[in-house]
């Protein structure tokens, strides 16, 4: 599970305000947000030594070259691609739904001190709910379906976005809105031209944390429920003692997590391009 660790480790680390500065190449157009590939060196070294040390005969620790051929077999049998597609779609739908809902709810909660105070305990409670505990309820209500998967992913990924948006709203300077009113901007125009852009950095702080969470939960719900996807394949290979295949799938999922991280970072840097470097 080493490679999958990329996701949760990042999600667990608190996002400090300083984080913004690091991912803001405001002074140049450098795509400094892409993690340098040499950071993958330890993984490569690890896999290479595994390859050298591993005995062909051990069923539990097959060498990485076996993983590759197992993946190829899987791909030839026409199982891998649809599974990968199902996983990516679930992940994307879940993340997008979490972003939209999280932003809207965060706005609604943060906009009034009263609702904010009233909902605080509920939010803390809901956030602490482990996604694995949500799965049985979700399957009960929605069955073993793609919708169920998306709902579980959304419910896990929404929190960092909602809470970041909420605290973003609370930090907005009221002068910004009085200015907009004084310039005769309508209500909708104020949301579109002032509130939303002002909150984008907060929203993206949340999305950055939510993206790896969404991926991990996508795989988790697939492993737990066996509904389509790479996670379901991982669970199957473990059940069938197809360890080479299992390791291969885990490696692929990890690489996808890296890619997602890089993409979100790039998007964030793009959004923050013209912001003050503070």
């Amino acid at each position: 599970m080493t490679t999958l660790g990329v996701g949760p480790a990042d999600a667990a680390s608190p996002v400090e305000p300083g984080e913004r500065r690091r991912t803001t190449p405001a002074r140049g157009t450098r795509t400094g947000s892409l993690p340098p590939l040499r950071g993958l060196l330890p993984l490569v070294v690890f896999l290479a030594s595994w390859q050298l040390v591993a005995s062909r005969l051990s069923p539990f620790f097959p060498p990485p070259s076996d993983w590759a051929s197992a993946l190829l077999d899987l791909s030839r049998s026409g199982v891998l691609l649809p599974a990968a597609f199902a996983t990516v779609i679930t992940f994307l739908l879940g993340l997008v739904a979490a972003s939209v809902l999280g932003t809207v709810l965060g706005l609604a909660v943060g906009a009034s001190a009263r609702t904010d105070r009233a909902l605080q305990p509920t939010l803390e409670y809901a956030r602490a709910m482990p996604p694995a505990a949500v799965v049985p309820i979700a399957t009960l209500l929605l069955g073993f379906t793609g919708t169920m998967k998306v709902v579980v992913v959304t419910s896990a990924a929404i929190w960092s976005i909602l809470l970041n948006t909420r605290s973003g709203v609370r930090q907005l300077n009221p002068v910004m809105f009085e200015m907009a009113r004084s310039l005769q901007l309508g209500r909708f125009e104020r949301v579109r031209k002032v509130t939303f852009p002002a909150l984008l950095p907060s929203i993206f702080l949340g999305v950055r944390v939510a993206a790896p969470v969404a991926l991990v939960i996508t795989l988790l719900v697939e492993i737990l429920t066996q509904v389509d996807g790479v996670g379901a394949l991982i669970a199957q290979s473990q059940r069938n003692y197809e360890f080479a295949q299992g390791y291969g799938l885990i490696l692929v999922a990890g690489l996808f997590a890296l890619l997602v991280n890089a993409l979100v970072s790039m998007l964030q840097a793009r959004v923050m391009r013209h912001r003050p470097p503070a």
Binding site: N173, V175, M176, E178, M179, A180, R181, S182, L183, Q184, L185, E189, K193, V194, P197, A198, L200, H274, R275, P276, A278
Partner: protein
């Protein structure tokens, strides 16, 4: 800089004939909530602003200057019995043709918009694109910032940022400007140069201006009339006409005996109200 409404403006600015009333404030009171419940901040304020007049509002810190200006700008609701009108219409929300200029220029500019696009904010979708462009370059030229149009506000000095805010207001072609200590946090040199620019804007546009300040010299130098707020709840404790010749000059005007006399008078008014 092009001159707008010059015909009716010059007569108003010269102040020879009786001017029409731009803004009316009758029995205006304001209650604001504190922890101990609502507190009366302004009590029974009465005054008029005349078309094209420059009125300075002075008073000690916390006397209610900002609150009064916010009432005129429709950002704070006065008590129901208050009568506040701008250009003949009751103020409910920010009045058309009146723009508020904030002391906190940094918070009033949108950091993700260029200077040009900040100035565009109030015009977007309201005037044709060509008109919008022309007005933006014109108002940026007025404050001497046409060269910085493509920059972001946070790349500008404080004085420049305040000029951007002024340009954004001017681009709206306002008939009224409500300015809350706009030069309060600027150094003396920048302040003087912005005062000169504001004076020119006032003369060329004939806008009605209410200007809150802590600075007695600034109030006397710029205004046609000074209102001194005092009391709890605050009322207008003094009203001092300023009849210095225009255009005014940073050195020559400030050496006039009349300037020194007014300065003294305003100072005494503020000190006396404090006792």
């Amino acid at each position: 800089m092009t001159v707008e409404r010059s015909a009716d403006v010059s007569s108003a600015a010269l102040g020879t004939q009786p001017r029409s009333v731009a803004c009316q404030c009758r029995n205006a009171s304001v209650d604001l909530g504190s922890r101990a419940g609502p507190r009366r901040i302004l009590g029974d304020i009465n005054f008029d602003l005349h078309e094209g007049e420059f009125v300075a509002i002075l008073g000690r810190s916390g006397s209610g200057k900002t609150t009064l200006l916010r009432v005129l700008g429709g950002l704070v609701d006065p008590t129901p019995e208050s009568v506040v009108t701008f250009h003949g219409r009751p103020v409910a929300g920010p009045p058309q043709d009146v723009v508020f200029v904030f002391q906190n220029y940094a918070a009033s500019l949108l950091p993700w918009r260029t200077v040009h696009n900040n100035v565009a904010l109030g015009l977007e979708g309201k005037v044709p694109v060509a008109v919008k462009r022309a007005r933006i370059s014109e108002s940026l030229a007025t404050v001497g910032l046409e060269a910085r149009a493509a920059d972001y506000p946070w790349q500008l000095s404080g004085g420049m940022q305040q000029r951007v805010q002024l340009a954004r207001s001017l681009a709206m072609r306002p008939r009224g400007l409500l300015m809350d200590e706009p030069f309060g946090s600027l150094d003396a040199m920048t302040k003087a140069s912005l005062q000169d620019q504001l004076q020119q804007v006032h003369q060329h546009t004939g806008a009605t201006i209410a200007f809150v300040t802590h600075d007695i010299d600034e109030a006397v130098f710029l205004s046609d009339r000074i209102l001194v707020l005092d009391g709890s709840p605050a009322t207008i404790a003094h009203e001092i006409p300023v009849e210095l010749p225009r255009p005014r000059d940073q050195l020559a005007t400030k050496e006039l005996p009349e300037f020194l006399r007014l300065r003294r008078q305003v100072y005494d008014a503020i000190v006396e109200t404090g006792d």
